[in-house]
Amino acid sequence: MQKEPHKIIADSSFYLCFLDDINDPDFLHRIIEKFDLYITPIVECEIKIEKNKSLKENKKIIRIGNYIAFGEILKPFLSKKIIDKGEHEVIGLGFHFFMIGVPFYLVIDDEEARSFVRKNLSFLSSCLHGTVGLICLCCCYFKIFSKSETMVTFNKIENSKFRISKEILYKIKNAVESC
């Protein structure tokens, strides 16, 4: 039986969704209570972790450093926009976790990066989620959030600058309602 993942490797949009877009850091902290979050160097900078005491000092936020910069391997294949946001590092670390057999969720919102994973590292597809998809899991599977507070958060996300298509959000709202 496969172990339930208790680790998350997420891109910066995941953190920024809660810290900036909907300004609800407590929601993020409730996710952190349940999971260990592995954070890559560029994502650290993107979310300005040094200025965020509650994240910086949280032992469940694991800053992985750069002993081997897996992202360098992916650099030639991805656009500058993706590299600047550090998605290549997130994918690279995800590949490593997969190789060593550690169950995890790979949270990537950018469609270019998601498509690269699906086409070239398809074995990672089952770990791949978007921020909203992960919230759905946190509600329906891990019971971290009630349905009503999840729906409130989805509505906040819908009205924020967080980028997600109406169709996907609608589908995920339905999934939460029926879980």
Partner: protein
């Protein structure tokens, strides 16, 4: 001239790169560029391989010599046409190195990096490989005699970028960057 210990380290890295997937590396160019990519994500190996700008971009003489005339692992490598792989004795050495590295907490990271490199770069043709490397690391083309085809000739650039797009290894966004 590399000393004996350095030669041993070089040969062990080559054995790891060749052994991490069970198929040959498609060409010497692939072997050179794949190890070059490893040196980008794991700079510690640069001191052994000394990649320099050369006719075909980043090139390590130490790597080529180690494959053609290995000092430590004499029968480890098999060259068939363009393809390079491990011989049966090379495969045994690979297993030994893996066992020895079990207590090294970074060994699994190195193996993952090597596997990811093979996963992505083996499927490129030599032209696509050089096109990607020159465009990502243009400094490696400084003394290249072939780089114009990959960096300046718009028709060639479009051809290689289109082929990579069709293979699904690059996105439309990356394609747009590569054909400018």
């Amino acid at each position: 001239m590399k000393d004996e210990d350095e030669l041993s380290v070089i040969e062990r890295y080559i054995i790891l790169l060749l052994g991490v997937v069970n198929r040959p590396v498609p060409s010497f160019t692939h072997l050179e560029k794949e190890m070059f990519i490893l040196s980008k994500c794991f700079p510690i190996i640069q001191e052994y391989f000394n990649f320099e700008e050369y006719h075909y971009g980043a090139y390590s003489l130490a790597l080529q010599e180690a494959v053609e005339e290995p000092f430590y692992y004499e029968d480890a490598f098999k060259i068939e046409g363009n393809k390079i792989s491990l011989s049966d004795s090379g495969k045994k050495e690979f297993q030994k190195i893996i066992l020895e590295g079990k207590s090294d907490k970074y060994a699994s990271e190195l193996l993952s990096a090597l596997k990811l490199i093979r996963e992505l770069y083996d499927k490129l043709s030599v032209d696509e490989l050089l096109f990607m490397i020159y465009n990502t690391y243009p400094e490696s083309a400084k003394f290249s005699s072939v780089s114009d085809k990959y960096l300046k000739d718009l028709k060639s650039r479009e051809r290689y970028a289109k082929s990579l797009l069709h293979k699904g290894v690059i996105s439309q966004e990356r394609y747009n960057e590569l054909v400018v």
